[in-house]
Structures are given as C-alpha cells and as structure tokens.
Symmetry: C2
Subunit: 207 residues, 2 copies
C-alpha cells in the first residue's frame, strides 16, 4: 500500500517536472496532480526533494539490481542507458538542482553493483585474484567514471546515440578487465613503466 | 610584477587557511597577512574565491604542464600526488567549499593534459589508431575518474600512502591502455561480449 502511494506521488512529480521547473513545484501542486489529499504527502515524504531521491532509487534499482541476477551486465548496462535516454528531460532538471540529495549518489550506489558484477565475472572466468584493496580501488574508480560519463551524456545537448554510448562504455570496461588479465598472466607483451619513487624535484610547489 | 603580487596574496591565503576556516577569511585579513595595502587586492582579484582558483591553476600547472615536456607521465603523476599530499589540509578545506570555482574544474583541466600524454604515448608506441570520437570519450572518462579518485584520496581521513596511491593509479591507466592495445591487435584472447541491441524488456521503467 505504502509503495503504491509513493509511486503515485513520484509519477505526479515526474509529470509536473516535464512541464515546469522543479522550483515551481509545491506539495500542493504535486498532490493535486496525484489526486491525493495534500496532508497525505507527509506520511510518506519529508519534502519534495525526498520524492526525487525516491524516484532515482526506485527506478534505477528496478533496472540494475532486479536485473543483474538473470541478465548479463552488458544487457543491464544497455537497459540503464535506455532508461536515462527515455528520462533525459527529467534527469537534466534533477541534475541541475544543487542540493544534498544529488542523483549522482543514488545512481552511484546502484552502478557500483553493476561494476561488482563486471569484476566478479572476469576474475572468476580468468581465475584472476585481485587483492581486496586493489579490487576496492577499482570498483570505486570505475563506478565514479561511469557516473561522471552518464552525467555528461544526460546533460549534453547533442548526446551520442544510445547504442554508441552503450558500446563505448562496454568497451571501456572490457578494455580495462582485459588489461588486468594480461597483467596477471605476466604476459611479456604487457607494457609497464617502473613505478617512480624518486624524491620530488626542487622548486616543488608546497605550502 | 603582477605574478609576484598574486603569489604573495596566494601564499598569505594558504597560510591563513591552515589556521582558520575559509569563511572567516576577509580581504582585510588576507592583505594584512601579505603585508600589502588592502585596496591592492582588487587590482588582482575580484574576491577571495578568485584567489583559490588562481592557486589551483598556478600550482597544478607548475606540476603537470611545466613537467610533461621533459618527464614521463608516471613521474608527473607521482609529483602531482606528492603535491596533493603536502597540501592535503588546504585541499580538504577548498573541496568542502560549495561554489562555482570548484577546484575539481581547475584540477580537471590540467589532468586532461596528463591523460592526453598517456593516450599519445601508447598509441604512438604500439601504432594503435583510436578513432577521434573514441579517443575523446576515453580522455574525458579517464580524466573524470582520476579527478574523482583524487578527491576521495584528499578527503579521506585514512588515505592510502602516497606510493601505493601512485601505483594504483598508474596500474589503472596501464591496464586500460594494455586492454586497448590487445583489442586493436585482434588478439583471440581478448574477452568480449557481443553488444546488446535487444529491445528493452516490458515493464521497463519509463516516464
């Protein structure tokens, strides 16, 4: 019951955001659009920002978490991009709102599960044992890179076509994992510079 | 002459930020610290935020741009991390200020030159021709991932040691470029899933 009411409020908010700026939405206009009593709003949400946060979580969870168990991550990635394209106007407005409930954070929490799947798949298939510390680093940096790229793609006035964007992101992730495999196999073709440990040069900016 | 005065004002601002919050700094306190007439400030900067932006640019340019011509990018990467470690307290405060002159943007503009060098080096050495569109994508996403990781590292109360962080970032970039090379050589060991172009499933969240 709670979920159905929340979904109604969320749908009404999305509808309204397609015709007017978020700053012009009030609890009154949202609940009128949802055909619900104004006071009911506060049984479910603290304010209109909380509705946005709920939308990101609910939608993106439906695409990523609920699909990762029976779809390959490449398919989930494609679905996710399709979702953002279909909701581009909504996310353009949402991403432009500067506040604490930034959609990046909600998106990030779900994308990290997708990345987790990417890392588990290749390390299992190729029997590559990443150290827990490096795996943690890799999961974070890949999550951040996907979130950042998605933001650019959503905000772009001339975004790349859906299939091309999917292909680029999949290639990016596959190039990375193939590089990791090659390195772990100690392949002589793996190109690598020694790590520098020299002291910094004199005249080095410092405080 | 102009540069020397700016540098004095910048140094005074950095000094003050090591002892008090940025919100408590005024043009008066900055210029007193710099032993300069208060009014002189406005010949060089619009406000105290402009001083921060100037510091990011001046320092990071001295490390990245001015060194990339005669040092390998792995050395420049190491110097850059050393700089952020030495200035960690300053950047922790700077990154916490929410305003338009976010340090991420200044950092990003210089890091993109480092990434440019990474891409040029391996594509030249291995004779890999990236399409201009994919190269542009790769430069942007790698720049964003480094900026994001640096932010995490700077803000962390328990950051990884300098040499380990350098090693992780270098490995991340080298794994990526090695993956690109393997793919371009059409190596049969390159692991790749076909790109999905299926229609999204029914019940797909949409607006």
């Amino acid at each position: 019951m709670s979920y159905i009411v929340k979904k109604k409020i969320a749908t009404a908010t999305k509808e309204l955001m397609s015709v007017k700026p978020f700053s012009q939405l009030s609890v009154t206009t949202i609940m009128a659009e949802a055909h619900l009593r104004r006071q009911t709003f506060y049984d479910y949400f603290e304010d209109k920002y909380a509705v946005l946060a709920w939308i990101y979580n609910d939608d993106i969870q439906a695409i990523i978490k609920d699909n990762l168990d029976y779809e390959h991550w490449t398919v989930v990635l494609h679905h996710m991009l399709h979702y953002f394209q279909a909701n581009q106007a909504f996310y353009q407005k949402a991403l432009a709102i500067h506040d604490q409930n930034a959609p990046e954070q909600a998106i990030s929490e779900h994308i990290t599960q997708l990345i987790e799947r990417v890392l588990t798949e290749f390390s299992h298939k190729e029997n590559v044992k990443l150290s827990p510390a490096y795996r943690d680093f890799l999961q974070k940096i890949l999550t951040a890179s996907l979130v950042s790229e998605l933001r650019q793609w959503i905000m772009s006035p001339t975004p790349r076509p859906l299939d091309l964007e999917t292909k680029y992101l999949q290639t990016f992730l596959e190039d990375m994992t193939n590089g990791v495999v090659l390195r772990h196999q100690h392949d002589p073709r793996y190109l690598h510079q020694p790590f520098p440990h020299a002291n910094p040069p004199t005249g080095f900016p410092n405080q």
